[in-house]
Each structure stands twice: as structure tokens, then as C-alpha cells.
């Protein structure tokens, strides 16, 4: 699973920074059928957690209403240097992880 994170590399303490993540995933709804008429089982990223230096700052619980290749955008307050770690899991139990560092000054 390819994922891309976009966020500032540096911030001043107390600054509100925008975090964007996009993950390549088919997000199968479970409502579709293949060419042979067989049901394609539901497979979506059902949980995504973002931890900032170990502390959970964002969580998304997604279902079949979310389009393929989900893109999430949220804000955190930069309070210490360190890194943001994203972990997610889909209905098939496939897990993914991606991390990005941030340097906080002031």
C-alpha cells in the first residue's frame, strides 16, 4: 500500500499545522459484483490512527461510503519535535504504516 504524507517539516511551538495523508487502497464497498456475477467482498481501511510522539491525535473509522484511495486532511498543534506515525488496517487484516518527522522551534 503506497501512502503519501504532506506536512510542514518545521513549525514554531503552538503553531497549528495541516496534515494530509493519501493512501492507495481500492476501498471495496461489498456491493459490487465481478464479471462472473460473484460478490466482491467488502474490504475497506476501517481504522486509521495518527500518533504524535506516541500520543493519539487523530483517528478515523471508515466504512463503505469512503471512495477508493482515501485522502484525509486534519490539523494538529505543534508542541514538540518528533514524528507523526500513521497506522491503518483494512478488513482483510492488511496493515500499513507511514511516518513523517517534524522539528518544532521556539
Amino acid at each position: 500500500m503506497t501512502a503519501r504524507i504532506q506536512m510542514p517539516k518545521q513549525a514554531t511551538r503552538g503553531q497549528v499545522v495541516e496534515i494530509r495523508i493519501a493512501i492507495q487502497h481500492p476501498m471495496e464497498t461489498g456491493f459490487r459484483r465481478d464479471d462472473g456475477g460473484r460478490e466482491i467482498p467488502k474490504n475497506v481501511i476501517n481504522k486509521l490512527i495518527c500518533r504524535y510522539n506516541g500520543v493519539e491525535v487523530f483517528r478515523a473509522e471508515m466504512g463503505s461510503g469512503v471512495a477508493a484511495n482515501p485522502y484525509l486532511d486534519f490539523f494538529v498543534v505543534a508542541d514538540a519535535s518528533g514524528e507523526l506515525v500513521f497506522d491503518w488496517v483494512d478488513d482483510n487484516g492488511m496493515t500499513g504504516s507511514e511516518r513523517a518527522p517534524i522539528v518544532v522551534t521556539g
Binding site: T2, R4, Q6, R20, A22, I23, Q24, P26, A67, A68
Partner: protein, 263 residues
Amino acid sequence: MTPRILAGLFLAAWLGAMFPNAAAQQAVRPQPLKSGIEFAGAEVRALQQDDFANPGMLWVARGEKLWREPAGTESQSCASCHGDAKASMAGVATRYPLLDPGATRLVNLEGRIMQCREQRQHAAPLKYESEELLALTAYVRHQSRGMPVKVVIDGQSRSHFEAGRDLYYRRMGQMNLSCAQCHQQNWGKKLGPEIISQGHGNAYPIYRLEWQTVGSLHRRFRSCLSGVRAEMLPQGVPEFLDLELYLAWRSGDLPIETPGVRR
């Protein structure tokens, strides 16, 4: 004159009267040239322009990883020979599809990547429309973003160009429609809720919202064949390569947009 020769003459005259342009259709570009993105709505345009939100960039990112990943018996990666794609691949995609010296069929960018993988890396072949091939194609073509396509139509490739042009103007399928009837003669008008585009290939591989994934130009050709209810052709056949060459010429100085986003 025998009756048979007479009948032949009549048939020839009748054919000439019925299909005056059947032998040689003029290769013309639409005027003014408009990229498909100009026919898209504001949301789709915004999605393509934002290099982060553009879902096609996920395939470009995957392609960048694959570029450096060793494969095959020699453990060679694309980068082992070509180095940094940002420098070595800039402008390369603008020349495709092209004819190798002595070859009888065109090779497009997908074909070149598959060829390189099999003959140079000695790796397992990539399938047309596989995630890996789409990612590598998107990554390589992305290095030529903003540059116009400049294919060579010379003595050798002219016959392919003409075959592509003839296919473009050939009516086909149960709907009895040619490519030209929608994309040359009626672009800008409505087909159901859609505005018909000029049908250029400059943004491929594209992320199509209907597909929810990235697809090749040949996948798009197949969608159109299905739309006019014509006989389906597999990706990578010579007919599609000829058509790709004609479309590359036809898109004139429109810049490459890879990865494009379309509805």
C-alpha cells in the same frame, strides 16, 4: 466487354460515388486544441492541479519506488542504467509511440518498459494494465509533464500514422460510429450529461473517478469500443498503437499532464 467486367466497372463507380473519402481521410487537428481537462468541472480540475490531492500521484510515488527496486536475474533496477529519472527521463515520453529501426510494429511507453524489463533486467514480464506497469509508466511520463508531444512521422512510421488515421475515421460497432464523429466533429456538445472532449491522450495514464483507479490510454480505447458496441481488442495490439500514434500527432502542442484526473 464481358458482363463480368461491366459489373465490376459499375461496382467501382458505385463505390466511388458512395464513399468519396473512403480511400484517404484528411488528418486534421481540432481547432482550437483543447485538453480534456478544459471540459472537466471545477472539482476535477482542482483535483488534478493539487499534486497532493491528485490520486494519480500515488501511482507516480509507487513508480518512483519501483524505479529503484532491483528486479530479475541480474538484480538490476531501472536506476542502475538510467540513473535519476528526473534528469534521464525528462522529455523521453514526448517521443512515444515510435518505430525502432527495422521493427514492424510501433512501441509505446508501456511497451518500452516491458521490453526493458524482459530483455535488459531479465525479470518476470509485466502485464498490460498491471499496477506495476501503470505506476512505472505514470512515473516516467510524469517527468515530461508540461512538454508537448513530439512524435516523428517519417517514411517508416508514415504507414502506421495512416493506419491510425484510417482507424480514427472508420465507423465501427453496432452504433456504427467512428472516433471522429464524436471527438472531431461534435466536441464541446453534450452526450447525455457529459461534454464531449476532443479525445486527446496527453494526460494518460489518468486517474479516472469512474474507474476509481489509474488506467492506460488503451483501457480508454476499450471503453470507447464498448461505448460504440464494437468488437473488443486487447491492450497493446498494433491497431491501438497506430491509433495512439495518430492521437499523439493530433494533440499538437498540448502539454503532457500525467497524471491527469478525469470524471
